[in-house]
Symmetry: C2
Subunit: 383 residues, 2 copies
């Protein structure tokens, strides 16, 4: 039941014709309280879409009554007309629910640079509000999809409290979130400032470590809504751990459904001088088209791993590094070790281990291979 | 005649069996003087191949008698055995030509992580030396190719002096040079320190602005050899301009033969606050897989241009930017302008103009689209 698994939430997902396919394209999630605490993190892209600009204002006071999300158009680089569309959408939600438009978050996803059709969107809000139910989470999860092949949802439970979530995103997956819309709900009793700190801590090691193609979206948003409906104040360490687990679960689901991918690649960087170094090294490999194309071809071309990490500023000696692929150490101290023929790349999962021998820190980055289908899907996207 | 067009140079290119195809794979270029001045620039990748480590020592005194280049293996991440191979290669050249091994530059290109076959390489040096002729430039240019479809050569002439050059490189083309081996020769009378300054100035605005796939090679080297055989000391401004023209010509040839590309993309960034900003903005687009895949599909998806440049630190307002593709201004002040249907992307050449409206500086970056063939060629490279 995803976002409606926690107590205090209702949701709906309906088709309003923004997508030419006729698939559901408008989702509404409402927090019925008693508390309406919230936190959100946004894309790091300086080119922020209109719904991001709006939502950054809404979240400032930590109070959110509802979040409305549309697929079928990003409402980005659409000028003042586009910002007005976002504003009118929030007002329509406020009117339908009897709440302030200033407590309504808005998310959009789809093609950049085209206006959303207000004649469909604004009436659609009332229809969505009328469709709200306490088991509408799955419908909402389906209505936010774009090139995703299926909905991504997850639930974790604690001692009397629950966190549920839905996510979309299948391309443009890069740091600081990535064509990624995520809504998490909990019935735990937590203040907005606590939610904010825990959400930032969780996204930093989950969604921020997912780097499908190095491209950062203009519309990313991860939102956490808390109703307090369980009446239980959780142990914060337990809640933080559960939130990390939930975010990692959803991030892994996004990786598994990335556009055109044929391999899910987990890059584990160990013995780095700092965690930042480990992240930089992992990300340099995740963004190396030559390595990613080799993985697509089931070619354990570890030289491309070393060439990639050689472009970073991380502290290590390129001629001390070890590299293992699916458990086979193909490179020791920057020289060939086991024959590359011993590496089996036919499974979808690839575990790449990079030992920098430079310190005690580590990090894991998640990515995909570069395939014919990735090129095809992204060349045909807007047509 | 490329590197043998200038007076004072001989060259050869022969097959010695490093390539399984039997194609030529060893090139030798010799400076017969009277001067043996030289300058070279190397990959910025910290993971430097053994021939780079060797050549950096050789160039230190600005004197170079010969340069030997092999395809069929990069001799990178091959440990001390690999460095010895490079050293022995230079000694073999020294012996064959009666010069010091310490004045012999070595370049290698091909697969990383495999030893070169010394039993073919060392005897091959003597064979190449015996084949040296004053019109051997074309043969040398052919012997350095890897996945290139054809040799890249160019010549410019000044007032009594000449500069000629050969280049290879068809993938991994990224800043700070890129699987790129280039040898330039001139008969002008110039000191090594002058050559160094002018070579750095020329590569900065030519080879360094070529960014095919964001991947930086371990083996890049651009070398300029000066024989002084013309007896003419050129006007330095004229020589500098000729050198920039020659390097830009060769860089453009590399772009036109990039692995699998179907479009040559010229990204012109104007009205930037600084030249560095212009380069960073251009490079962010050149490395955006989503934009590059869209170009492959003849889709003028300018939203991806703005999403890409939004990730940079350059000074500009994302909602003031104009974007034009092949002369059609599709975006004005961050909002839609002319309909995308007016853009014709069927020609191979795409001119992308980005007006930041932030200052007086500009830069041009050269790149390619992301195609099925790029993925295919790079997935099959080492097999």
């Amino acid at each position: 039941m995803t976002v409606t698994h926690a107590q205090g939430f209702e949701a709906a997902g309906i088709p309003i014709g923004l997508k030419s396919s006729g698939d559901p394209d408008l989702a509404l999630v409402v927090n019925r309280g008693p508390r309406q605490n919230a936190a959100a993190v946004f894309t790091s892209n300086r080119a922020k879409a209109n719904p991001i600009l709006w939502s950054q204002q809404v979240i400032a006071d930590g109070t959110v009554s509802a979040i409305i999300l549309n697929s079928g158009g990003a409402n980005c680089f659409t000028g003042s007309e586009g910002f007005q569309t976002t504003h009118l959408t929030a007002e329509a939600v406020g009117e339908a629910l009897g709440v302030s438009a200033g407590d309504v978050l808005v998310c959009s996803t789809g093609l950049i640079g085209q206006q959303l059709d207000r004649s469909k969107l604004i009436p659609g809000v009332a229809t969505a509000a009328a469709a709200l139910t306490s088991d509408g989470g799955e419908a909402a999860a389906n209505a936010i999809l774009t090139t995703d092949s299926h909905a991504k949802t997850a639930v974790v439970t604690g001692d009397g409290w629950t966190i549920g979530g839905m996510a979309k995103g299948a391309g443009m997956l890069a740091p600081a979130l990535a064509t990624m819309l995520v809504v998490l709900t909990t019935d735990a009793e937590l203040e907005s400032a606590e939610l904010d700190a825990m959400l930032r801590a969780a996204t930093r090691v989950s969604f921020d470590r997912l780097d499908s193609d190095g491209c950062t979206s203009t519309n990313d948003q991860v939102t956490l809504l808390a109703s307090g409906a369980s009446g239980i104040r959780p142990d914060t360490a337990a809640f933080q751990a559960a939130l990390v687990a939930l975010c990692t679960d959803l991030a892994t689901q996004l990786m598994g459904d990335a556009e055109g991918a044929s391999h899910d690649i987990t890059i584990e960087v160990v013995n780095a001088a700092t965690e930042d170094d480990a992240v930089e090294v992992g990300r340099s490999v995740a963004r190396n088209n030559l390595f990613k194309a080799a993985v697509f071809g089931n070619d354990p071309n570890w030289g491309r791993v070393l060439a990639a990490i050689g472009t970073t500023r991380a502290a290590f000696d390129p001629y001390a590094v070890d590299v293992a692929m699916n458990g086979v150490r193909v490179c020791s101290n920057g020289a060939p070790d086991r024959p590359r023929e011993e590496v089996d790349l036919t499974p979808r999962a690839l575990h790449l281990l990079i030992d920098l021998k430079a310190g005690p820190a580590q990090a894991t980055i998640y990515t995909n291979d570069l395939t014919h289908d990735y090129v095809h899907e992204n060349s045909a996207y807007s047509s």
